[in-house]
């Protein structure tokens, strides 16, 4: 770099630039938090959903699946699984979900295996409620299609 460009100029760009963008980021975060109530489906965040989220976490579901595209890429996206499997019917979704969870693992030789998590009926319903709630969050029309 040319000698005209001194170390103290570089330092000032660093200090000024990072301070400015940290403050801008905080401002944008504040604005986002104002917008979130309209988008994050919090009106449907019931106790059952909260418990479902805890079950989701304590069984490390994200270790294989993605949720809104985040997680591991070993098993299907579940942020929209309610849309994919419910046909718009809660009863059908819960029935499907329970049957699925209870049938695991398939033990088909050579195929990817999902563990048996030994959840009871209430826990399965909570987990299903959590997945339905997640499906209701406004993700800007992601994923592109129902397959996730």
């Amino acid at each position: 770099m040319a000698e005209r460009f001194t170390k103290s100029m570089a330092r000032n760009i660093y200090l000024g630039g990072s301070t400015f963008f940290i403050l801008l980021f905080l401002g944008l975060t504040f604005d986002t938090m104002q917008a979130m109530p309209e988008r994050d489906n919090r009106e449907n965040l019931t106790e059952s959903v909260a418990n479902g989220k805890l079950l989701w976490e304590e069984n490390n579901c994200l270790g294989c699946h993605t949720l809104f595209g985040e997680g591991a890429y070993f098993a299907p996206e579940l942020g929209n699984v309610y849309q994919r499997r419910s046909m718009g019917n809660d009863e059908a979704f819960i029935g499907y979900f329970k049957a699925w969870m209870n049938a695991m693992p398939t033990n088909v030789p050579g195929r990817r295996q999902m563990p048996q998590f030994n959840l009871n009926d209430q826990e399965l319903e909570d987990l299903a409620a959590f997945l339905k709630y997640a499906n209701g969050i406004n993700t800007n029309d992601w994923p592109p299609n129902v397959e996730g």
């Binding site: 570089a10 330092r11 963008f21 986002t32 959903v49 270790g63 070993f74 993700t139 592109p144 299609n145």
Partner: protein, 462 residues
């Protein structure tokens, strides 16, 4: 070695490399499970092995950063470490906590681990990369505070160089942002939003400060270029890293709930994120070509140059590839993300830690001019084996990702293949990735072997 207490870095480096070996073993396991789905099932399910793979990576990089700080902060400050004893105590605390956590992952089901560690009291588990039990997280905070105190006191007692200040800023930021791992609201969208304050503001924020500082330190040592020049570069690189990277966080906010204006902010700023990495490459090559001495540790110089190039490719180019919102709409959460993650972590953070180890370890072992020529030859072989293997891992995962997008994401609902049907169709690329992974592992074993190669002591070149 200028100061006796710098040797506190030694156990950190050795333990880091041991964990690195473990990380790759588990990488090979999950790589194989992608194509032989029931491999090791039900003993080690994919989610457990994957968590071990990623958590070991994070923990060994942290060990590497701490070792780097214990080595270079006293040398830069021109004083002994504030407390060598504290460095050793914290080493054993962190090593024990890390080992127990990994044993916990493998010994009992994750839900049981959550139960016995009292996750219900303050639920923080089960979120990607932050899977460790809450008490382990508390332990990390305690270790980090003790570490920052030790390094901070050392700095305050001695010369305050730009490298030390930048490194300290990065380490403070690392500790600060980790605190967001304790915030886990029931509201999934808010959980995800602030989860990125740990993950993104680490790897695309403060970790770049740490990386820049370590790179600058090693370049001063191996090239003999004037400190003023190197510090100026360091400032401008980290300035660009933060100017682009902070708002660049927005590229994670596209599809997890926040408003659409992040599509513009995230796309524009993260499209600029390759700039600091490109500058690092120019910086490293420039300094080496203007070198005022021929440092006999050629392996360390090779790692430094390789780090700059691979960080630019992995973090810069492969990041840019899928960071624009209209592209990311199709690629988000596919194997393209995995491809980017692998090369970026290897290029930026794995290689910077190996760079400082390659420079500092021989000195701590009483070889001020670097390892013997024979040992360096083996080490350079390991550089090429690991680096080329990682290039191929990235290329195969990218190919898998492009096909996945084509089959699963681009067609309309009803036309698109399901996730699992798509996976079957791209299995060939997972096999190729696994073969590349085996070669990477051979490279890693070669690297470890290079520590045990004897040979003739290096003559002083100057």
């Amino acid at each position: 070695m200028k100061f006796q207490s710098q040797s506190a870095a030694m156990p950190y480096f050795i333990f880091a490399l041991a964990l690195f070996v473990g990380q790759i073993v588990f990488g090979l396991i999950i790589g194989l499970q992608y194509v032989v789905g029931d491999f090791l099932f039900p003993e080690i399910p994919f989610n457990v092995a994957r968590m071990v793979h990623t958590n070991l990576l994070i923990v060994w990089l942290l060990f590497g950063f701490m070792g780097a700080a214990y080595y270079l902060v006293p040398e830069e400050a021109e004083t002994e470490l504030y407390s060598t004893k504290l460095a050793w105590v914290l080493f054993w605390v962190f090593a024990a906590a890390g080992t127990l956590t990994i044993i916990g992952y493998l010994a009992v089901p994750y839900a049981t681990l959550a139960d016995i560690t009292g996750n219900g009291l303050l639920p923080t588990m089960g979120r990607e990369f932050l899977e460790m039990p809450t008490i382990t997280k508390v332990g990390i905070v305690v270790v980090a505070l003790g570490f920052l105190f030790n390094i901070g006191m050392t700095m305050l007692r001695g010369r305050k160089t730009v490298i030390n200040i930048v490194l300290m800023t990065g380490l403070l930021g690392l500790a600060l942002f980790f605190l967001f791992s304790f915030y886990n609201p029931h509201n999934l969208a808010l959980d995800k939003f602030f989860w990125w304050w740990v993950v993104h503001l680490w790897v695309e924020g403060v970790w770049e400060l740490i990386m820049g500082a370590i790179l600058a330190f090693v370049l001063i040592k191996v090239t003999g270029v004037d400190r003023e020049v190197i510090e100026k570069w360091l400032y401008i690189i980290i300035a660009m890293a933060l100017i682009t990277g902070i708002i660049g966080t927005g590229h994670h906010f596209f599809w997890i709930g926040p408003p659409e204006y992040w599509h513009y902010l995230g796309s524009i700023f993260s499209a600029l994120e390759p700039i600091p990495f490109f500058m690092m490459t120019v910086f490293a090559f420039n300094m080496v070509s203007r070198r005022r001495r021929e440092h006999p540790n050629r392996a360390a110089t090779l790692w430094a140059l390789g780090c700059a190039v691979m960080a630019f490719l992995g973090a810069g180019v492969w990041g840019f590839l899928h960071t624009l919102a209209p592209v990311n709409y199709y690629t988000h959460g596919t194997q393209i993300t995995a491809a980017h993650g692998h090369m970026a972590f290897y290029g930026a953070y794995v290689m910077i830690v190996i760079t400082i180890i390659s420079y500092a370890m021989p000195i701590m072992r009483g070889r001020p001019n670097g390892n013997s020529r024979q040992a360096q030859t083996v080490e350079m072989w390991s550089f090429w084996l690991m680096t080329i293997a990682m290039v191929f891992i990235t290329l195969f995962l990218t190919a898998a990702g492009i096909l996945q997008v084509w089959m699963q994401r681009v067609p309309e609902s009803g036309q698109a293949l399901s996730f699992m049907a798509t996976q079957d169709n791209i299995a060939l690329f997972y096999w190729l990735r696994e073969i590349s992974g085996v070669i990477f592992f051979i490279g890693l074993l070669t690297y470890i072997a290079s520590f045990f190669v004897k040979g003739d002591a290096v003559e002083v070149a100057e």
